[in-house]
Structures are given as C-alpha cells and as structure tokens.
C-alpha cells in the first residue's frame, strides 16, 4: 500500500468514526460552516465537525502546521476531499479567511502577522470579509477613496465600502484604503486588516434581487486599525490586492467547476435527473424534448471540458510547470457556465421555476428561483467578465492597449 493509500485509509476510518452522522449526505453548500465569533450556522454539529477537523489540520490541509494547517501536499488534499465527498460531507470550514486572506498572508504576511491571524482562521474563530469595492470604485478598483490617516500607532479610517459580502456577520475585514492621494492611484493604496467590532464601523445590509441580503454597505467614521496590521508596507497594497484577487478568482471558478463535476462523479448528472422528472422520456429512454436534450448535453459537455481544463492546469503545476495561461480563463468561463447551468435548470422545471414563496411549489423549486437570480452576480463579483476578458486580451494574448 502506497503512502497515499495509507493516508486514504486513515482518513476514511477517522471520518466514519468521527464525522457527525447528521452532516453526512449534506454535501450542498447550506450546511457548510463559516465560523466566526457569532456563527450563523443552522446546525451545532457543523461547529463541532470544524473544530475536530481543525485539531487534525484538515480545515486548511496544505497550510504549514505551525499556523494550524495540515502540512499536507496537494495529492493528500485531494484524497481528503474525495473522502469527504464519499460520505457526502460538507467541507469542515469555508470562508474568505481560508480562501482569500489566509493564502495572501502566507504569501505576504510577517511572521507575527501569520502567528496572530492564521490559526484563528483555521479554527473558525474569526470570520473575514472583503472591503474592496466602493460606490465609485468597482471595476476601476484603484480609484478607491476611503482614507486612512496615521495617528500614533493607529490608522484612522473615513469613507465607505459597498457590496461587502457577509459584512454583517464578519469579525474582521481586509480593506483597501488610500494612504497617499497625491501619487498615481495604484501607488497610494494600503492593504489593512481591521477589527469590525468598534463604534467607528457601521454595516447596513443590502437586499439582492434574490430576496436575500448577503452583502452590505460598510461605513467608516474615525474607525481605527493598528499599524501592525498593514500587510506588506504602506502604499504597497495594490500588489497584495491583486494577488488576493487571484485567490478569489480561483475560488469562484473552483466552486463552479466542481459543482458540476462533483455531481457527476457522485452518480447521475443532476440536469439529467431533473429533465427525466420534469420533461419525461420516450419509450427508448431518451428525453422527449429534443431541444432541451441538446441543451442538457451542451451544458454537461461544457462542464466536462471545463473540469478537464482545471485538472490539466493542476497536473501541469504539479509537474513543476508554472500555472499556465489557461488558468486565466477559469473565472470567466466557470461563472458563465454556472449561469447557463442555472438557466437550464429553470428551463427544465418550466413554470414550476417561477415560485417566490408559499403554496404550489416544492422547497427545491423555490430554492431554484433564488439560486438562478443569485447566479447573475457570478459574472460581476470578483471582477466582471468584461474585466476578465480585458485581462486575457492584455496579459495572455498581449494585444495592444485600448
């Protein structure tokens, strides 16, 4: 038995023994634990499961052990994910701490900063949100205006952020602030960490077209951040900001690639299952509606090829090649694919996808309506599709400046 297979056997035995039974079969995103001082999760077992896994370093499998990680390689991480999926368990923990600021701190943080923040992330103790966008700084993020002025060993912040996802349930924010208004806009930005539990920070939820309020406006009125929480130097924030966006885009793309891929490897293609039920089959077992059948196939094939490309990129990195230019396509293609998948699901359910609430609709149908609406944001959040295409044109294809 190879090392990897021995590891698999250990993981499998441990999960079967310890993973809360109530979480098994809960692979969907709803049951994932996001952590924080005041966790919002529906099930208390989620918190237990997170803490158990954190003990083993499995909430951040590839992070170094001294910061609460598992010190594992990518192959082991994949085994861990496969074994979680086998029991249809959710990942033990998710969030912007694990996915965005953590990897960024590993790259840019000082030893003291890593010591202070990373373990709290892996244990799910602190929940993070992202303070990038402002009312007048969206795609043109570098034009941001939230001001930070030095006073002793503190920065005093004044200004406004917007579209702060989960701002109302987060404990800390990584925030981009203007520390020098008199230089080229990219050169006067600082990347700061700030504790949101203070009077100078006010958060107001914004309601989305899906009816939910997962994101907020954040107002700073003489809010205070410590100078020791500046990442990578004053006015050096733009480089850090861009690196973090890379992690964010990988995360977003992974969610959408594996959403389809995971469904497939775990049994029947969800679109086919839905189509059989809502559209029906003829005597040969083929979907009755030939046009919808073709649409199911297009989305299924596109998901397949997208996942193959994600794997190709991972294999190339593992083989020691630098991340290939193909990785730049994941955000734009993965999110547009997810939108097409959601639209396909609507088409398959037909008028049953029109429900907002109340009688006449199954819970899954009502959820579908909302998740379709939510998916429209996929091509906006984390940098719009148009901005991604600009990046591919400029960096990968090296086309001339507009």
């Amino acid at each position: 038995m190879g090392d990897l297979e021995a590891f698999r056997a250990d993981v499998r035995a441990w999960l079967e023994q310890n993973a809360p039974k109530s979480l098994q079969g809960q692979l969907g995103q709803e049951s994932v634990y996001w952590g924080g001082r005041n966790p919002t999760t529906a099930s208390p077992e989620s918190k237990d499961f997170c803490e158990m896994c954190a003990e083993k370093g499995w909430t951040a499998p590839t992070w170094p052990k001294e910061y609460g990680g598992g010190g594992l390689g990518q192959a082991e991480e994949r085994v861990l994910q496969q074994e979680l999926a086998r029991l249809r368990l959710p990942p033990p923990l998710t969030g912007f701490g694990l996915q965005m600021i953590g990897p960024t701190l590993l790259q840019f943080g000082t030893e003291a900063q890593k010591q202070e923040h990373l373990t709290k992330i892996t244990r799910g103790e602190i929940r993070w949100c992202q303070g990038y966008s402002e009312p007048n700084a969206g795609s043109d993020l570098a034009s941001l205006a939230t001001a930070a002025v030095l006073e002793g060993d503190e920065y005093v912040l004044n200004g406004q952020k917007i579209w702060t996802s989960y701002g109302d349930v987060s404990d800390w924010m990584f925030v981009l602030v203007r520390t020098d208004p008199d230089v080229k806009k990219q050169k006067g930005i600082t990347f700061l960490l700030i504790d949101m539990d203070q009077p100078g920070v006010e958060v107001r939820p914004i309601k989305l077209i899906s009816g939910f309020s997962p994101f907020c406006e954040t107002f700073f009125t003489n809010a205070r951040a410590k100078t020791k929480d500046v990442i990578s130097g004053v006015n050096q924030g733009w480089t850090v900001a861009k690196a973090l966006l890379g992690h964010e885009r990988t995360m977003i793309a992974n969610v959408f690639g594996s959403a389809g891929g995971r469904g497939r490897s775990q049994g029947e293609n969800p679109a086919v299952a839905l189509a059989k039920r809502y559209v029906g089959t003829d005597e040969t077992g083929q979907l009755k509606d030939r046009v919808l059948r073709d649409q199911v196939t297009r989305v299924t094939m596109d998901t397949l090829s997208f996942n193959q490309t994600v794997q190709r990129n991972a294999d190339n990195i593992k083989a020691g090649h630098r991340p290939g230019p193909e990785s730049s396509i994941f955000k734009v293609y993965g999110t547009e694919l997810n939108q097409r998948r959601e639209e396909l699901m609507l088409a398959l359910r037909g008028p049953q996808a029109l429900g907002w609430e109340g009688p006449g609709f199954e819970p899954a149908e009502l959820a579908q309506t909302r998740s379709w609406l939510r998916s429209r944001g996929n091509t906006i959040e984390g940098g719009t599709s148009e901005v991604q295409l600009n990046i591919i044109a400029k960096r990968v294809l090296e086309l001339p400046e507009q």
């Binding site: 083929q286 094939m301 596109d302 193959q308 190709r312 591919i392 044109a393 990968v396």
Partner: protein, 374 residues
C-alpha cells in the same frame, strides 16, 4: 488520468512541430492544390514521416509498431494540422489501418498493416454512403456469401485517402449484421473515382459491382462489424481532433498577429475592445478543445469505460471551436481574408471538412446523450 506531458511526449511535440514547420509551409499546401494531382499529397514526405516513426506510433510491437497510444498520436496529428499536411496519417494510419490493428488476422496484418506502417501502402476506410450523413449502418452495401467467400455490391462516398489507396476496408451488410471487408485496389468490379473536396484533400467514390473477395477478406467476425467500426472511428476521431487543434491554433495565431499589425483609425485593430473580447473567447475555446482532446486520447489509452462519451465530447468541441475560430479569422482579416491569395482561407475550408468528418457536433452531442443514457 494525467494531463501533463511526459518528457518523451514533450520531445515528440517539439520535433514533430519543427519537422512540419520546416517541410510543410502553407506554400506547399497551395502548390499541391494548384497542381490538381489526384493523390493530393506527397508520397515522398509521407515516407519521411514513416521514417520518423510517426506511422508506427499507435500499433503493438508485435505488429511492428512503437506500442505508444493515442496520447502520442494526437501530438503528431496536431503538428500535421498546424501545417494542414494532407499526408495519409489520418486516413490510412489512423483510419483503415486501425481496423486491422484491432481485429486483423496475422496474415492480413502481414499483407497490409506492415507495409502501411512502413509508409509503403495505404489503407482507406470506406464506410460512408451518399444520403446517409454520418451513419455507420452501410444500408446501401450488401455482402452475400458466394463460393468460399463473399460478393460485395454497393457504393461508398467521400472515402478519405481513397484515390490511389492500395486496399479498402469496406463496410457491408451481411445476413446477420455488419461486416468489414478488405477489398484491394484493382479488384474486379471495383471502380474508384476521385472526388474534389472543398479542402483539397484526397477522397473518392467507390462503386462495388459484385466484387468477389475470399473468406480471408473479412476483418473481425461476421456481424461484428458495427462494433469494430465504432471502435475504429473512435480512434480516427481522436486523431482528427488532434489535427483540428493544430489547425485552429495556427488560424488563431495568424489572426492575433494580424490584430497586432493592421492599423485603422491610426491604431492597431487589436486595440479595439470589440475584437479583444472575441479574441479572448476564441482563446478559451482552443484551451477547452485541447483539454477535451487530451482527455479522450488518454481515456482510450487507459480503456476507461467513459472513453466513447469523451471522444464525442472532444469531437463536438473541436468542431465548434475550429469553425468559430476560422469564421472569426476570416472576419478579422477583413477583405483580404476573403481572397484566395491569403492563406487563412485554407483554414476555413479545412475546418468545415474536418467538422463533417466522422460526425459533426450535433451528431456527437446526440451520441454523447445516448451513451449517457438519456
């Protein structure tokens, strides 16, 4: 499944690409077309490809092959696609010869496969019939028991590499299903009429009027022809996808170069966002087509149970991608792209022909759905 190229594969890619760049500039393709010669390819260059071992890649050592797989074959066909090389690697080596590799008797292999691998003879696959679109059913060709062998009657069309081939693998209906038969050129009752295709490649109509063949002409089992043909076509299709990748990559690169060179309104046309975003989308489609093709090749090599579905995925993808890129390439070249004098036209023609070879995108989406049980 491992997508990263091994050292040997990377080396093969390098040498194959360099060989094609040196020996097959697009001026050669133009000259071949203008010559109007029936063969439409260079036997001498094909001989050199055989010397390099390209024709031996996907065959067992016992058959005189290099015992490599489709993962390597697509590396070679991609290089061929970059130069739009019409040599019969696809039609013979990855076409008719595959039937013998999969199901030929030692005698059949001796007579036909060994010289095919040596680049001395070619084996064309004759399965398509007029009006049958992409059907493999051979509804218009019959094989009747006659003496100790069979008598074949019917017609095949767009037999790739058919003009000047040494032997044909012909599909025909038997009483108990489909059979594949070896019919040598010059057999009595066989008429081969060369066809002219839009992409200038070698193709022919085969008329079979009571062609008598021996018992030993049957490849595989009587009645087992449909399955065998399906396996042969899977392999041929993956090799073709490799070729399509090479072609779409070059058409894309030529277009990118033009976007960086042509000026209008005092700026390079590549600075217009309307074109930049379309170029980025073309790039995405090439990358996905590449992954899909590599996955299909590896699936066949690994005898993955999903292999057939992955082949259909690759062919549907490559068909759509090559056409998209060829169409956009002509559009972004403007008027010059419409002229015969400009090389980009060769790619739009080849894209269409490749799309319609071994099933177009719609055919393969339907096949994928059938294979996936819906």
């Amino acid at each position: 499944m491992q997508f990263a190229l091994t050292e040997d594969q990377a080396m093969l890619a390098q040498t194959a690409t360099a060989f094609v760049a040196e020996h097959s500039p697009l001026t050669r393709i133009r000259a071949l077309r203008d010559a109007g010669d029936e063969l439409c390819y260079s036997p001498a260059l094909f001989g050199q490809m055989a010397e390099l071992g390209w024709t031996a890649i996907p065959f067992a050592e016992a058959d005189g092959g290099l015992a490599m797989g489709l993962s390597e074959a697509i590396i070679v066909t991609e290089a061929l696609g970059r130069g739009l090389c019409p040599e019969p690697v696809l039609s013979s080596i990855m076409g008719g010869a595959q039937a013998l590799a999969l199901a030929g008797t030692p005698a059949q292999k001796n007579t036909w496969l060994a010289p095919a691998i040596a680049g001395e003879k070619t084996i064309a696959l004759a399965y398509q019939e007029r009006g049958g679109r992409f059907s493999t059913a051979a509804e218009g060709t019959r094989a009747e028991r006659s003496g100790s062998g069979y008598k074949l009657a019917g017609e095949k069309t767009i037999v790739l590499g058919g003009a000047g081939a040494d032997v044909y693998v012909v599909s025909a209906q038997l009483a108990d299903g489909l059979g594949l038969f070896l019919v040598p050129a010059g057999a009595s009752g066989l008429t081969v009429t060369p066809q002219k295709l839009v992409d200038g490649r070698n193709a022919a109509v085969l008329a079979l009027s009571d062609v008598q063949v021996g018992e030993d002409a049957l490849v595989g089992t009587p009645g087992g022809g449909l399955e065998l043909l399906d396996d042969v076509l899977d392999r041929a299709t993956v090799a073709l996808c490799g070729e399509m990748l090479g072609g779409m990559q070059v058409a894309f690169d030529m277009t990118l170069a033009y976007l960086k060179e042509r000026k209008q309104f005092d700026v390079h046309i590549g600075s217009f966002q309307g074109l930049q975003h379309r170029a980025a989308k073309m790039y995405i489609e090439v990358e996905l087509a590449r992954s899909a093709t590599m996955a299909a090749a590896r699936a066949i090599d690994e005898q993955n149970p999903q292999a057939k579905a992955l082949v259909s995925n690759a062919k549907a993808r490559c068909s759509d991608a090559y056409i998209l890129i060829a169409n956009e390439a002509v559009q972004m070249h403007g008027g010059i792209g419409m002229t015969d004098e400009h090389d980009i036209g060769f790619f739009i023609k080849r894209a269409r022909a490749a799309e319609m070879t071994y099933g177009d995108a719609a055919y393969h989406r339907d096949r994928f759905a059938r294979l996936s049980g819906y």
